[in-house]
Symmetry: C2
Subunit: 101 residues, 2 copies
Amino acid sequence: MNYLGNKLRELRASKGLLLRQVAAYIEVDTALVSKLERGERKAKRGHVEALAKIFKVNEKELITLWLADQVFDLVKDEEVANDVLKVAESELKYVKSSAKE
Amino acid sequence: MNYLGNKLRELRASKGLLLRQVAAYIEVDTALVSKLERGERKAKRGHVEALAKIFKVNEKELITLWLADQVFDLVKDEEVANDVLKVAESELKYVKSSAKE
DNA sequence: ATTGACTTGTCAAATTTTGACTAAAGTAGA
DNA sequence: TCTACTTTAGTCAAAATTTGACAAGTCAAT
């Protein structure tokens, strides 16, 4: 339920960096980075992008996790959660079949 | 991209109701109902519930569309949109396999 | 006890959402 | 056309949510 945060913490560990170093790099408070990693706060897109840079990973990969966590939050307590994803998928297919708009 | 709104308009038409009548029932301004139907404003859960009642349809059905539209909005402009849904699905599976939390 | 890494709590500021209100635009009948 | 009525568009203040710094706290190692 916090795929992005887990990933960020993994990455940071693998580089042997401290919260404070990551925080300095993305120009936020150390406490905020801690919260992002633990999913207590939602990152902004800009944060995710900066983090992808510092960790030298594909930005899309992190953005995907970032969005997935948000989608998850939206439906996690719903019994219709799976149906929701199905319908959303069909909406996506619909627009991508380039029915304009 | 506005499955709920379209559905609401269909339902209203099928019952031969005016915006003003629906609005009175759910106790909001007529203009708001118009906007909900056209997806210009996001309904609140309570609105969706009330609308399910007035139209005598399964509440879950409308809630599903309501949530799906929100998920769609979140990912519609993302190239990773489909991946996002996949990951979200896996997050869902993970929690439902009752790994606690 | 001190130091350093991380976490937690708080809060004001900033941003976003909300929905009524008003006015405009569209529609149909006389 | 005139008129009555439905629907849509624009505006805006109030309400709700988000944001992130700051300060204080915990914890581990020394």
